[in-house]
Symmetry: C2
Subunit: 347 residues, 2 copies
């Protein structure tokens, strides 16, 4: 099966219309019809039901649509990464790391600093993007490594290594009655008069129905909270970004947020392996201070625990209280992080 045929089929399967698909592909319609016919003949399977008035996918066609998209992604990724590898030899961008714009900047800064100091480090480009784009960038070969946050992001199909886990805090306008409480529960946050929880876009970019303002990034969210138009639930580390108009209170029974470093499962290049080793080394240092669960011996890959493990997040009260200073302490002490590599993390 040639990638051209696959691209043609995916176009038709998405448009469900040969004419429009051909237009999208920049070719005429007859060759497209023939290509699909040939593909069906070669596969020995009907992919589309055509009735000269409508085109629908068969069962096999649905399978090929899904699998074909993944395959095309893989081919495109191979091409892009090869191009990047070719440019990297003389040029700068050795590694591309993608993370959410709203992610904890302290961890990222520490990671970049620590990696830059490692022997054999290559330059790292950082892409900030909205949630749900990271996986795509990684899959398409536009990025080499990502910082993801479970359970919000899917780690589908990647190798991952846990870097840190943290509880969540409620972000409220300064002076709100709830800010006088030392801790909250999820129930306290639902149905607050005038302070709905915001809605985030799903993987497909659309917003779920319901009340609450639509937000795209963390800055918008904090803005809304400061304006008294919403309350928010955020990982503890967001405290570093809060200013005077905002207050944060730990929420005991909110799902724990796990920050992981993820990369495509081909363990490309020593650079990725080095970066991952550096990242896990960071985590290992901080396990003395917080609720950080350190990776055990096994290179535990794409595990995706259902979000039910948060029951005992209560012990993090001290951590939340000192989140601000702790962030600073972490930043300074990271640089003497031991280099006790997780050997062969990329194997």
């Amino acid at each position: 099966m040639e990638t051209r045929e696959l691209r043609y089929f995916v176009a038709v399967a998405e448009e469900l219309h040969f004419g429009r698909a051909a237009q999208r592909l920049g070719i005429a319609q007859p060759p497209l019809s023939r290509a699909i016919q040939r593909l069906e003949r070669r596969l020995g399977a009907a992919l589309l039901d055509r009735t000269s008035r409508s085109v629908t996918l068969t069962e096999a066609g649905s399978v090929l649509l899904v699998e074909g998209r993944a395959a095309l992604d893989a081919v495109d990724a191979a091409e892009r990464r090869t191009r990047r590898a070719a440019l990297a030899t003389p040029g700068r961008p050795g590694l591309v790391l993608v993370t959410k714009a709203s992610a904890s900047s302290a961890l990222l800064a520490d990671l970049l600093d620590a990696y830059a100091a490692a022997p054999g480090a290559v330059p790292v480009d950082v892409i900030l993007c909205g949630p749900a784009e990271q996986a795509r960038l990684l899959r398409e070969g536009r990025a080499d490594v990502a910082l993801l946050h479970r359970p919000f992001d899917s780690t589908a199909g990647f190798h991952t290594e846990v870097l840190s886990t943290e509880g969540q805090v409620a972000v409220l306008p300064a002076g709100h009655p709830l800010t006088r409480r030392a801790q909250l529960r999820m129930a306290d946050l639902t149905g607050l008069p005038g302070l709905p929880l915001p809605r985030w876009p799903g993987p497909d970019g659309s917003y779920p129905p319901g009340p609450g303002p639509q937000v795209r990034d963390h800055a918008q969210l904090l803005q809304l909270v400061a304006l008294g138009r919403a309350c928010a639930l955020s990982p503890e580390s967001c405290r570093a970004q809060l200013h005077g108009d905002l207050a944060a209170v730990p929420v005991l029974d909110a799902p724990t947020v796990t920050t992981v470093i993820a990369w495509p499962p081909h363990s490309r290049s020593r650079a990725v392996a080095d970066l991952v080793r550096t990242a896990t080394g960071l985590g290992a240092r901080s396990d003395a201070s917080g609720p950080v669960v350190v990776g055990v011996a096994q290179p535990a890959a794409g595990l995706r625990p259902p979000t039910t493990e948060c029951a005992t997040a209560g012990g993090s009260a001290a951590g939340t209280e000192e989140a601000g200073t702790e962030g600073a302490a972490q930043a300074s002490s990271i640089r003497r992080a031991s280099h006790d590599g997780v050997p062969g993390a990329a194997a």
Copy 2:
């Protein structure tokens, strides 16, 4: 980039010899040279350094070799799954599950029976293979779902759901002095005179150096132990397969073994989803009955001693007693167990 070009490049990159690669591809050498040249031109990158006496990979070429293999796997998987989907409509084989020959047969039998009883169930073919082949079968589209065992198997690039965790036992020849102990530690097993731990093949099929016999599967292993040539460390559930010449003793500080169900990250078809749901539900049900510790949120395994209930449960004879009937149940629910004779894999 067309898959043909990719296949050509991979062949050359693996052979590092245009003539042999061409022979392997069934074409003449000149077209192959041209194809590679065109590919390099299109990518704008040198992939190979040729000196008319030797061919070596450039940095970009190494990247393309790794990424290209993955992409080709994805394309092949798409093709195979499409073919299978086309045959499935009238024909039998709805799902293909792959597991290690040595895996716990009770869990598998329960899963197959429970799924068969579920509404909308499709027939399930079972493939038994050696360790380290499962990932390949899954990646190549020859199988839809696999039972993997961490930390032995890499779950690289798959979605997984934890089914059960269990401790490990030392398998020793009956009558060995250590079998009189109620429990052991790893240290007790290293350097036993005349009873070395065996060597398993790595992901690449080669054996690590060292003493100890080379084994390929569990049956060989048990044979060797029964002959008094080795001792072994196995998941508890292997007790069901032991016979009179063998004895098992819990090893407290051995790594915990986690059985997961894994599938490619496209969540294909409702059938896979149903099977996974059945599998996770299964765990919930059986946790009252056996030494199987059901997948609650995997608590940091390995560090703390494997749960004492494992050790005590290990003494139960129930598991072994039911092995016979469970084996029968398994035989009835496995429709076909072939190495790679997946219907539709013919082409």
